[in-house]
Subunit: 229 residues, 4 copies
Amino acid sequence: MSLEQLREEVLEANLEIVRRGLVLYTFGNVSGIDRERGLVVIKPSGVPYERMTCADLVVVSLDGAPIEGDLRPSSDLPTHLVLYRSFPSIGGVVHTHSRYATAWAQARREIPCTGTTHADYFHGPVPVTDPMTDEEIAAGYEHNTGLVIARRFANLDPVTIPAVLVANHGVFAWGKSAADAAHNAVVLEEIAHVAAQAAALGGLFPISQALHDKHFQRKHGPAAYYGQK
Amino acid sequence: MSLEQLREEVLEANLEIVRRGLVLYTFGNVSGIDRERGLVVIKPSGVPYERMTCADLVVVSLDGAPIEGDLRPSSDLPTHLVLYRSFPSIGGVVHTHSRYATAWAQARREIPCTGTTHADYFHGPVPVTDPMTDEEIAAGYEHNTGLVIARRFANLDPVTIPAVLVANHGVFAWGKSAADAAHNAVVLEEIAHVAAQAAALGGLFPISQALHDKHFQRKHGPAAYYGQK
Amino acid sequence: MSLEQLREEVLEANLEIVRRGLVLYTFGNVSGIDRERGLVVIKPSGVPYERMTCADLVVVSLDGAPIEGDLRPSSDLPTHLVLYRSFPSIGGVVHTHSRYATAWAQARREIPCTGTTHADYFHGPVPVTDPMTDEEIAAGYEHNTGLVIARRFANLDPVTIPAVLVANHGVFAWGKSAADAAHNAVVLEEIAHVAAQAAALGGLFPISQALHDKHFQRKHGPAAYYGQK
Amino acid sequence: MSLEQLREEVLEANLEIVRRGLVLYTFGNVSGIDRERGLVVIKPSGVPYERMTCADLVVVSLDGAPIEGDLRPSSDLPTHLVLYRSFPSIGGVVHTHSRYATAWAQARREIPCTGTTHADYFHGPVPVTDPMTDEEIAAGYEHNTGLVIARRFANLDPVTIPAVLVANHGVFAWGKSAADAAHNAVVLEEIAHVAAQAAALGGLFPISQALHDKHFQRKHGPAAYYGQK
């Protein structure tokens, strides 16, 4: 994939989270990475989505050095970079404050798996980070946000649980590509919404491990049979 | 009705559940059956609705043998087939994870009849299945989903209660045709939404049997007087 | 106003409740009355809104005798007629199952006045009827629905409280005209939604009588100063 | 900025709150002020947004004397004027009954800061006024609404907390300009919605002061680094 194609995919993924109702104004951001070249393409900070073009996207190295672009990158760039370094197999990262997922994050509750759509995409509860310490906030805040997420995944697999709730903040999701990350963020918002309603109806019954595995594997396992070959 | 007409009706019913907001991405599926020929037409697996055409639909026999179509059928096909075999009078089946109905399913609660729109369409509570056992999940999962539904209807009439909540999963609805099944799925989501709000307001007062019967009969009984003759 | 103009206003009011999201499919209906001629114009039963024209509307006398139109009138016509006879100053009636107002109706709770928009339109709580008896349901159900509403308004002024929740059923709203009735039904749904959220947040604090009166009077009183002269 | 430009900005801000779903019918209103000339431009009362033009806007002096325009100004004008006089640095005022913010107002609860979007815009909880007394309501109601708000801000900074909930009523928001005020009103509705859902999930954990300050300062402080330079 050329850098130009990556720019187009990242732009499209940024627009997708707008179309799906995950972001308000200029909130939210998506990036994608070219692992071979070690280049990250990310949304610029505070530019309206309606007039964003591929040329507005910012290209940086994996340690954040500016490579291309006249605009400032998203202020959340350091979080994206930590995630790319911590999770070597991911190709795209999304940050949103989508409504229901953020409500869970503000309530500091992980989203338990109580439904098969959750199981299709997340092989376990969607975890919530610890609240950040004053020290973590004071200096290098966005970088530390990434570290707090990475720490939360010390014993979790980011490939099979491709999102996290940052306490009192919002969502980071990721995937094989920018498009895949955006897709996971959209699904996360949907399962957060349904689970919130189920909770309101008095019940969050975890699905059985067998059902959880079945749904995840039929979509992602070696013998997956969802979708076309 | 020709097979081509059935394809068109099934395509249209698939698009209807998208337009009505019942599905996200490629989730959900609708099928229709030609009882005379013993042929079932169903949505292909994982194909975006925006570019789905009649030619993409898959035709199978009532025992699932492929008849026409190059694409894989929906992975939920075996559930549809069990329903067609168990409920001989139905002509269409819909599967969705529509938001509020799924919340009830995740809370493992049947939807009690507390309103007249519910009574217009469902002659009793909308039932919820038992959770599936590990054995039922391990092999023949989609087929067994159908059997679990059929078992739940051992003492219920699928004609007067044309939908079910599958515990921790979602909705199967059906009807005289694919269009009718989609219509029932849309109404189910609406009544699930209203009932959830009524529950939040502290009250789920079942309507009286007389009112329940009145509404169902004025729409579906032999002396129905709703709509045009 | 000619009968043709009344037909146009009634059609427009029917379409307005669709545009505002108060109705699903063919649910809901609006009528208007020509008091001089004693003629009521109402939506036909079960005709899709998308292709409804003025010619589809049904004209009946105040006792329900058919005057013009080939289609069956809405099955709720008898309720409309009782309301026109019981409340001589109203010019239009709307029936909906709009989501949040219906949730209150299903919870059998009146909507208390806890906000100024409520006060702008309804000079007191929006009342809920008694559940109907089996006898009232068995024969003349729609007619009796009207009587149950009229009975609920024995000590209420339908001009200053232009809507009611019918227990386990939905909404009837009315107004000076069909357009005004539709407007009141839309506002009712909005205040039902806000009040449900306020209830969820733990508080339904009735506004003071002074504030209630102030808002109602600045919009409807003899010295009203809202809007243009 | 010419008066004509101010009219255009005020019209645009009025339309923005409609597009963002904050207002129903003719509810809500936005004004802007030209501090040099001492002129306030405000929406007329009760005119449909769909056909509102710059020429319909009303221009008054800071003490409410009519300067330009044939239409009556919004009945809430006196509240706007008190806010402009009490908060000398603001350039625009918005009044809405947006759904979730109004639910908090009806529940008479301030919105605690439990998320970073809240922290980005409001440097503290969004306060709620005291209920108004019968005397405040009886005469000079809209003027007194302004005074009640100003009193609530006796020890708060309207620049860093640019909105208030008026008990049992709705929202007043403000900002550097009419556009900025509308933007703040839109964000307020979003954070009110998310906080309501977080409350429903059982937790309103205030964010730490360090995180609150960090987010507010990175957007508004002297060393702000959000957006483009």
